[in-house]
Amino acid sequence: MMDSAFITVLIAMLGGAIRVSTPFMFVALGECLTEKSGRINLGLEGNLVLGAMVAYAISFHTGNPWIGVLAAGGSGLILGALHGYICKLPKVNDIAVGIAIMSFGTGVAFFFGKPYIQPSAPRLDAIHLGDWTGNSALAQALQVNPLFFVGIILAVAMSWAFANTRWGLIVRMTGDSAASARAMGVSVDWVRFLATAAGGFLAGVGGAFLSLYYPGSWNQGLSSGQGLMAVALVIFARWDPIRCIWAALLFGAAGAIGPSLQSVGISQGYYFFNAAPYILTLFIMIASARSKGAAREVPGELSITK
């Protein structure tokens, strides 16, 4: 009896982790790209919420959720570009601008999103990976959204590009030392602007996942701060796209513990599991703050690590 309950929890957690982690994955990859270029964007929460609203609205009007996903990315791109443009101006504090963008993005999303709370829009379909097992719980857990795989491919591609392409090198150089980037004739502002806009695009796609797949509807309480936590996730992953995937899965699993325990009748005490990734990130920061080895992984121009 204990065993089967345990397995139920594990399977539910696996499915939950895959579902919950996808938006984390996209915001983390977006933030990772932006931070690699030496700038921090705390406003991805705004991109996420606006992306969720735009995806739902466009999917409702066009009937094609994938157009919704693209539109969500586009809205994120615009917010990211706004952040990137304002931060190009001298004397502007990128952290505060991030919070302003967050408040602007959620405001706009709530304003235009009001009429879309009621109607139901076509949602993204899942790929059924587990039907062959004949186990209904496992089959349900293994219904994976294509965006999950898109995220993994993207992480691998980003990781490869950072290491092996000219563009990747330029982004890393801008993030590590603006002075040497300038000496090479690279426009630091322009690189950071593009990296922030592209990062914003990814966060918007993450929002589309929220409204079009899981939880799969649009309302004002849709996001539970995934965008804001992107910064912590990237620190947790030590600015490495592949590790961002693992970190997102871990954050997702921690978020999925609550509902999985509820499925076997335990409904209390899981809030500490939800907070576990944050506590863990804090400890990692404390442990690595003064270590030289860890300092090598940090983009040198980042305002939060100076």
Binding site: L42, L82, I86, L89, P90, K91, V92, N93, I95, A96, V97, I99, A100, I101, M102, S103, F104, G105, T106, G107, V108, F110, F111, G113, K114, G225, L228, M229, V231, A232, I235, Q268, G269, Y271, F272, N274, A275, Y278, I279, T281, L282, M285, I286, A289, R290, I304, T305
Partner: protein, 369 residues
């Protein structure tokens, strides 16, 4: 208005650097405020609404009658306190964004400590005092911890305070869903209500609650502390240049932790008033984003504790007018969020103007003092 009067000093008298700086620090935010009103008006025109109607309604809803003024002051109370929680560490050079968590933790601590006091039948003023002190201690500890980690462990305070906010919210949820849950709160888990006898009322003759008075008092006290005492001077010097401050033998670590602890006390106190005045118990309603709005209020006030009060009142008024705008113009309640967002974005972009407007530069005017 005041920008023009301060800026148009007669050419015969030489304005000194201080006056020019002050005029600049008034002019730039006012300019940004009107710039964002303009952008918002364009937005309204695009969606086919009248900007004149809108701003008239905001004025009526925010300042039009004594009732609406009181509403605005009411709404500004938590913003004053959370803005102070950002401004004080900012003066010592720290970007501390954890006021949200300190508010939640403070509110929860106040509600928790109230349970034995209420069942024990303690006198209300004593209960309030103990609740307020507990709330301030909890908040102070939380932000103080972020300050301590920053100075003694080299952990970035912005991220650690953000993480601590989430941990604070989780702590509240843990107890509110578990050990301290009021069985009567079915859909929205809450702590035991403190009861009407222990609710803090309004300032006599008004509808404004005491949180506003406390906010104004703290703003004045902290203004004096930061600009008229050795402590404030040392803190500002540390904010200007940490190495110079260390070379002068200033206790940098103490100053940083103290400023952060003060900040946390302000946010914790905001949580106390949310519980003792508004909600009567601790629950998820405490997580209302006051901490983040406070950051932007502090920026608009240039981290000056006295300026925080009028700025917070403006935002309180905009929030208070939201209901009226919704009813009269048929616009969603998120309209005020859009306006706030535009103000914040334009305002922060306007920071770039400092030192660039020739009019305010003594060198350019040829009258260096």
């Amino acid at each position: 208005m005041s920008a023009e009067t301060a800026g148009s000093v007669p050419a015969t008298r030489t304005p000194n650097v201080r006056t020019l700086k002050f005029a600049e620090s008034i002019f730039v935010p006012v300019f940004a405020l009107f710039g964002s009103f303009l952008i918002f008006s364009l937005f309204l025109l695009v969606i086919g609404k009248s900007p004149i109607d809108f701003f008239t309604l905001v004025w009526t809803g925010g300042f039009g009658s004594s009732f609406s003024i009181q509403q605005s002051l009411q709404r500004s109370a938590p913003l004053i306190l959370t803005a102070l929680a950002f401004a004080i560490p900012a003066r010592i050079g720290l970007t501390m964004i954890g006021a949200e968590g300190a508010l939640v933790l403070g509110g929860f601590a106040a509600a928790a400590v109230a349970i034995p006091l209420v069942t024990g039948g303690a006198a209300a003023p004593i209960a309030w005092l103990i609740m307020a002190i507990t709330a301030m201690a909890a908040g102070g500890l939380w932000i103080g911890l972020a300050g301590w980690l920053r100075h003694y462990r080299g952990v970035n305070e912005t991220i650690s305070s953000l993480l601590l906010s989430y941990i604070a919210i989780a702590i509240m949820n843990f107890f509110v869903e578990g050990a301290l849950r009021d069985p009567a709160s079915a859909n929205k888990p809450s702590t035991m209500p403190i009861g009407d006898a222990y609710r803090i009322g309004s300032i006599p003759g008004t509808d404004v609650h005491w949180g506003f008075a406390a906010g104004v008092a703290l703003a004045i006290i902290l203004f004096i502390l930061m600009s008229r005492t050795t402590f404030g001077f040392a803190a500002r010097m540390t904010g200007g240049n940490v190495r110079a401050a260390k070379a002068q033998g200033l206790p940098v670590g103490f100053l940083m932790v103290a400023c952060c602890a003060i900040a946390g006390c302000c946010a914790g106190l905001a949580g106390f008033f949310e519980v003792a005045v508004i909600h009567g118990q601790a629950n998820a309603s405490l997580v209302a984003g006051y901490g983040f709005t406070g950051i932007l209020v502090a920026f608009l006030a240039r981290h000056n504790p006295l300026m925080i009060v009028p700025v917070a009142i403006i935002f309180g008024a905009i929030a208070a007018a939201g209901g009226l705008v919704q009813r009269r113009m048929g616009m969603p309640d998120a309209t005020v969020l859009v306006l706030q967002g535009i103000i914040f974005v334009v305002l922060l972009a306007s920071e770039t103007l400092y030192g660039r407007l020739k009019f305010f530069q003594p060198e350019a005017r040829g009258d260096r003092t």
